[in-house]
């Protein structure tokens, strides 16, 4: 049989039984649509997280006290019982590194803030003038902490948007004196509201000079040192240089962990990529179900068309011709279902994007190809058995069937 004839024959056979055909196409379509939509969700989540991370600041390198657990066992660590603390001097020393553009020390703790008889608990962040730039934060009013000696600092504070609302209400906050712990600060700036998101939330934060924060918490350690490298390609160099400087300052001990935003991102990227893959796998199960449905429906079709198969044999059709006629039909139904499912899936993903504009719910290319491919493959694979069954039918008995 010529290929166009085969295709036409299969098409006529498929359209000759609309209920069966639409059932099959629908089952296949649901499977493919599930793959497309679910991977769009998974990959959308991945892209969303990446974009949120990028908003934290670019070319960011973070120094944490203590050796990372994930760094593997280092015999040198076993000797040092307690890691050395990070200090303001450590932070300042990092400015020497050629790949480092900006450095911000960060000390954090909780305290109480009061103004005009109102009192509440707050998170206090002690840092310097560079912090706002490294973290890509924005001011709503006033100015940020002034540049100056990190070991001193005026009693000035920048407060978060929510703190401002709660303490000052309609009043102007700028220039007012507030009490944080047992110290008095003048409010010089208000951070812009950041709202919810993966980025740093400054809404309930009070930012003061790092030296004053340390004095307030009666400690000279830092929680983090934030570094901005000179550029994307300088990140690794900045990391290496920072590590070397700290090591020298800590008498040769590698007792800090340095993470880069890239590494964190890569981890999330991998994690969420795996999630997408898993979700795609789950969705693929519905394709397998559709495949089994294809098989059953085609088997029923063989039974219903037994006398036709007998006739085809009497008219000179070989087993191979009958096999390919049924396989072509199964493949065509699967293809139609896969295409419909692709359109439905893309439509679903577009709808999600419409409803949640921040969420980039685009199905990844690989998932679309894998979904369509799996649909075709299962359709054909599960079509083989019915096709072979049809080809093996005895012509005399088939012709006797009504």
């Amino acid at each position: 049989m010529r290929t166009p004839d085969l295709i036409r024959f299969a098409r006529d056979a498929a359209t000759g039984n609309p209920l069966r055909t639409s059932l099959l196409v629908l089952a296949m379509a649901i499977g493919v649509a599930a793959v497309v939509v679910l991977t769009a969700l998974g990959d959308g989540a991945r892209l969303y997280v990446i974009s949120q991370f990028s908003s934290l600041g670019t070319n960011l390198v973070i120094v944490l006290p203590g050796r990372s657990q994930t760094g593997g066992f280092n015999p040198g660590n076993a000797i040092t019982s307690t890691p050395r603390d990070l200090t303001i001097d450590d932070a300042q020393a990092l400015l020497r590194a050629s790949a480092v553009h900006l450095v911000a020390p960060l000390a954090v703790g909780t305290s109480e803030i009061s103004y005009g008889g109102k009192l509440r608990e707050v998170m206090v962040a002690g840092t310097n003038a560079q912090f706002i730039e490294i973290r890509r934060l924005k001011l709503a009013q006033g100015r940020f902490l002034p540049d100056g000696d990190w070991r001193r600092g005026a009693s000035e504070a920048v407060i978060g948007a929510k703190i401002r609302d709660e303490l000052f209400g309609a009043e102007s906050a700028l220039g007012q004196l507030i009490r944080v712990g047992d110290r008095r600060f003048r409010v010089v700036g208000v951070m812009a509201s950041t709202g919810q998101g993966l980025g740093m939330n400054t809404d309930e934060l009070v930012i003061v000079p790092v030296a004053l924060a340390q004095a307030m918490f009666n400690s000279n350690t830092l929680f983090r040192i934030l570094i901005e490298a000179n550029g994307r390609e300088a990140i690794e160099a900045a990391k290496a240089q920072a590590s070397e400087i700290i090591r020298q300052r800590h008498e040769g001990e590698e007792d800090v962990t340095i993470i880069t935003q890239d590494a964190v991102l890569a981890t999330f990227d991998k994690l969420l990529g795996t999630l997408t893959l898993a979700v795609a796998g789950i969705a693929a199960i519905s394709l397998a179900v559709a495949g089994i449905l294809v098989m059953n429906v085609m088997l029923v079709s063989v039974t219903q068309r037994t006398s036709e198969i007998g006739l085809l044999k009497a008219l000179g059709a070989t087993g191979a011709t009958i096999r390919s006629a049924f396989l072509t039909e199964a493949a065509m139904l699967s293809l139609a279902g896969a295409l419909l499912g692709y359109l439905l899936g893309q439509g679903g993903a577009a709808l999600i994007r419409q409803l949640y504009p921040v969420f980039p719910a685009y199905p990844p290319d690989w998932a679309v190809f894998a979904g369509l491919g799996t649909a075709l493959l299962t359709g054909i694979l599960f079509g083989v058995l019915p096709a072979r069954q049809a080809a093996r039918l005895d012509p005399v008995q088939s012709l006797a069937k009504r």
Binding site: D12, G16, L311, A314, L315, G316, A317, G319, P395, V396
Partner: protein, 229 residues
């Protein structure tokens, strides 16, 4: 010139559980090209089994079937399909048209299966539709045709590959007398043009029109008007 059909020592036995049904017993038969043969006999006597065997739809348990001098019982299924396609045309009692295909498509089906060019196909189909008085029915589906028209489509289909023989199993069984006569006349016209015609019938008047009658009974060939048994 060898006979078109030569059967020797044919046995066909069906096993139904413990019992055996001898549908054909030690059959010896020779049919020359161009003959017009009526196979008659009571129901269950083996007429259809004989015809299926001649059409390579069924296989004897023992014996040899020579078609145009060639032993066809040992051919592979693919080769047998090819013989059916090129040398044999079937006409059935219940027409066996494909319901979703038009009259023209049904007639073209053997050519489609054989992979003949569409241009060649439509030329032959147009001619066949004209020959069988179906020109205005080309795009009708079987359920839009009368019984006689359906059987004419079936005959057109059986002849479209220009086979050496037509095997017809009770072709008038589902038709009224007049329509049956007309269908027989069409078949006989084919025979006059040289096609070997083998018709199974239990209608004695119709059977009498053939130049040769075979009488089957209980799987055996009881009487052959050409050969004295």
């Amino acid at each position: 010139m060898p006979a078109l059909i030569e059967l020797s020592g044919i046995e066909r036995i069906f096993y139904l559980g413990d019992s055996e049904v001898h549908a054909l017993r030690h059959l010896e038969l020779s049919i020359a090209a161009g003959e017009y043969v009526a196979v008659m006999g009571p129901s269950g006597s083996g007429k259809s089994t004989l015809l299926n065997l001649l059409g390579l739809l069924d296989h004897p348990n023992t014996g040899i079937y020579r078609l145009e001098g060639r032993d066809v019982t040992t051919l592979s299924p693919e080769e047998q399909a090819r013989v059916r396609s090129e040398r044999i045309g079937f006409v059935f009692q219940s027409f066996h048209l494909v319901p979703r295909l038009t009259a023209a498509e049904n007639i073209a089906l053997p050519m489609t299966l054989a992979g003949i060019e569409p241009a060649q196909r439509s030329k032959r189909v147009v001619q066949a539709l004209k020959d069988y008085g179906l020109a205005d029915r080309a795009s009708h589906r079987p359920d839009q045709l009368s019984g006689g028209q359906r059987q004419r489509v079936a005959i057109a289909r059986a002849t479209i590959m220009q086979p050496a023989m037509i095997l017809a199993d009770e072709p008038t069984g589902n038709l009224d007398r007049a329509t049956g006569e007309e269908v027989m006349r069409l078949l006989e016209e084919l025979n006059q043009r040289g096609v070997t015609l083998i018709v199974v019938t239990h209608d004695i008047t119709l059977g009498a029109r053939a130049r040769r009658q075979l009488l089957m009974e209980d799987g055996e060939l009881r009487h052959d008007s050409k050969v004295k048994i």
